[in-house]
């Protein structure tokens, strides 16, 4: 009897251990793959750009106002990552005056042009992938998704590329009113909340998620010291390049 228990214990321990190994194995295999910033974006460490020209965003959504509204959110996160960013309000006007506000014209222009005209070390292409409001029967959400690509104006290489999505639930809070009355109030509340929720705070969070993978620039105290910082692996910038 005593021996039986002992064997059972051994089996249990072995099983537990096995379970642990399998779990850890799964976590390593199926979790997000991590690499270092240096491994992901070697070009930016080689070229060390300082000044970035952010082009008018490329709007891939059906929301006509997304382009203008989104553009108000980008200067802060890029500057806080340690880069000089040209004032978008001014550069956009200049580009417009030269007939270059149109997305396709800008994308097809060689990056080197921006070195001549602005003195920029790098040029940032931003695509707005999602700018959506969703309504459900009892809820709603706002989603903003952005895709960044930084190109060198000297070599034309992709220096850094990343994307980020932020979704904020706008479902109303529970009123503690039961039955159909409560449901009606909740429905109305969700509709109102979703309508007035500004996209801008959601866009700002999407920016933070995206820019957090960007190697720091010269004005940041961690400049060139963040090579081993971990980032979640995405497609290689070279494969993503336009």
């Amino acid at each position: 009897m005593s021996k039986g228990i002992r064997i059972n214990k051994q089996i249990a321990t072995t099983l537990t251990l096995l379970g642990l190994i399998v779990t850890v194995g799964f976590m390593l295999a199926c979790g997000p793959k991590l690499t270092t910033k240096k491994e992901s974006f070697p070009n930016i460490y080689d070229e060390k750009p300082l000044s970035i020209l952010v082009l008018p965003p490329i709007n891939m959504t059906t929301a006509a106002d997304a382009k203008e509204y989104y553009a108000t959110t980008i200067a802060e996160p890029v500057s806080l990552a340690g880069y000089y960013i040209y004032p978008i309000e001014v550069t956009t006007d200049i580009l417009k005056a030269e007939g270059l506000y149109d997305t396709e014209l800008l994308v097809n222009l060689p990056p080197q042009k921006f070195k001549q005209h602005f003195g920029a070390d790098a040029v940032m292409y931003i695509k707005i992938l999602k700018w959506d409001t969703a309504y459900f029967v009892l809820g709603g959400s706002v989603t903003v998704s952005v895709d960044f690509s930084l190109k060198s104006t000297t070599t034309g290489k992709v220096l850094w590329a990343y994307d980020g999505t932020m979704k904020i639930d706008t479902t109303g809070s529970d009123y503690g009113v039961g039955g159909w009355a409560g449901m009606a109030i909740k429905l109305m509340d969700t509709a109102v909340k979703t309508a007035v929720t500004d996209y801008v705070p959601v866009a700002k969070k999407a920016n933070i998620i995206t820019v957090s993978s960007m190697p720091f620039g010269k004005y940041h105290q961690l400049f060139d010291k963040d090579r081993d910082e971990k980032v979640i692996l995405k497609d290689k910038p070279e494969e993503k390049g336009k």
Binding site: Y69, T72, S79, V90
Partner: protein, 134 residues
């Protein structure tokens, strides 16, 4: 007995000191949260968003005030004015025909961020052109 207490006290104070040193050490090592922020962007994105949403004189005036406030507050806090802020302020002045007022702000942008030179020079040359035209 007396001596024992004395020793205990010494140990206690030594431990307290040790604790303090460790705490301060931790605070110094782990304190990037307590650091000075890099820039003071104030209400920049809010007033710019409002200007985009309702582009009228009132919203423009508010955004201008925000830019000026960022410049003043940054100076008070001993922070570098965020990139592009001097320049954006100067640009609004230029659009209002106040070229003379705008020039010092363009120069401040160039002094603070020498890498903006090509761009600022370009704005300055346009400024001179409009001056000649007047």
């Amino acid at each position: 007995m007396n001596r024992g207490i004395c020793l205990d006290k010494r140990i206690a104070s030594a431990l307290t000191l040790f604790g303090l040193v460790v705490t301060v050490g931790f605070m110094l090592a782990c304190g990037p949260t307590a650091q000075k922020p890099m820039y003071n962007w104030g209400g920049y994105s809010t007033s710019l968003y409002n200007l985009k949403k309702t582009p009228n004189d009132e919203a423009l005036k508010k955004h201008k005030e925000t830019l000026l406030k960022i410049i003043e507050e940054s100076k008070e806090k001993g922070l570098r004015v965020p990139p592009g802020v001097y320049c954006e302020y100067a640009y609004i002045l230029i659009k209002e025909g106040k070229n003379k007022e705008a020039l010092p702000y363009l120069e401040l942008e160039e002094q603070t961020y020498p890498e903006s030179s090509v761009f600022v020079q370009r704005l300055k040359s346009q400024l001179n052109k409009t001056k000649e035209g007047q």
